[in-house]
């Protein structure tokens, strides 16, 4: 199960690596952030360790907010 999740994580990583367009990269990064935090939650359930789960939820909320701010900054720079 975890191996399938890691395979699904490799696709946006490859996309972020090979694509030059900044918005495609941002899209891949958003996908990576969501997938990683959900994987952290799954691992925290498997290990029954809720400190890791708290970290996953924090990444899920703060990481997405950070990506939004980054998108606005890139838009301003491109103008």
């Amino acid at each position: 199960m975890l191996i399938a999740m890691i395979l699904a994580l490799l696709i946006p990583m490859y996309e972020a690596w090979q694509d030059e367009d900044i918005w495609q990269k941002m899209l891949a990064f958003a996908s990576i952030a969501t997938k990683t935090s959900v994987m952290i939650l799954v691992i925290s359930v498997l290990r029954d360790d809720w400190m890791i789960g708290v970290v996953g939820v924090i990444i899920l909320s703060v990481g997405n907010a950070g990506l939004m701010l980054l998108a606005q900054t890139i838009k301003r720079i491109n103008e």
């Binding site: 490859y14 899209l27 891949a28 969501t34 935090s37 799954v42 359930v45 998108a71």
Partner: protein, 93 residues
């Protein structure tokens, strides 16, 4: 029974993940990729977290917080990315 249902939810979520992520590899426009990503990826993540919630219901507060932040943040992030990327004027590819 509930355990099997939880694993079923997680499996469906992983299928949705692959479904939403494979269009990233093509040569389509950003908005097309954003649509498939924001629909299938968010639904897959929410399905996985629902599966975890069925497996361990005692930690519902943390998992419900994760569900809510997924539902709200991914929608808002989708709108913001679409707004920011649509100013270039070369989206119709």
């Amino acid at each position: 029974m509930v355990d099997i249902l939880g694993y079923l939810c997680i499996g469906v979520g992983i299928v949705f993940w692959f479904w939403g992520t494979f269009p990233l590899l093509g040569k389509r426009s950003v908005l097309f990729k954003l649509h498939s990503l924001s629909v299938a990826d968010t639904l897959g993540s929410m399905s996985i977290i629902c599966g975890l919630l069925l497996k361990i219901p005692s930690e519902w507060s943390l998992l419900v917080l994760a569900l809510i932040s997924l539902a709200i943040w991914n929608t808002v992030l989708g709108y913001v990315l679409a707004y920011c990327s649509s100013s270039g004027g070369r989206d119709e590819r």
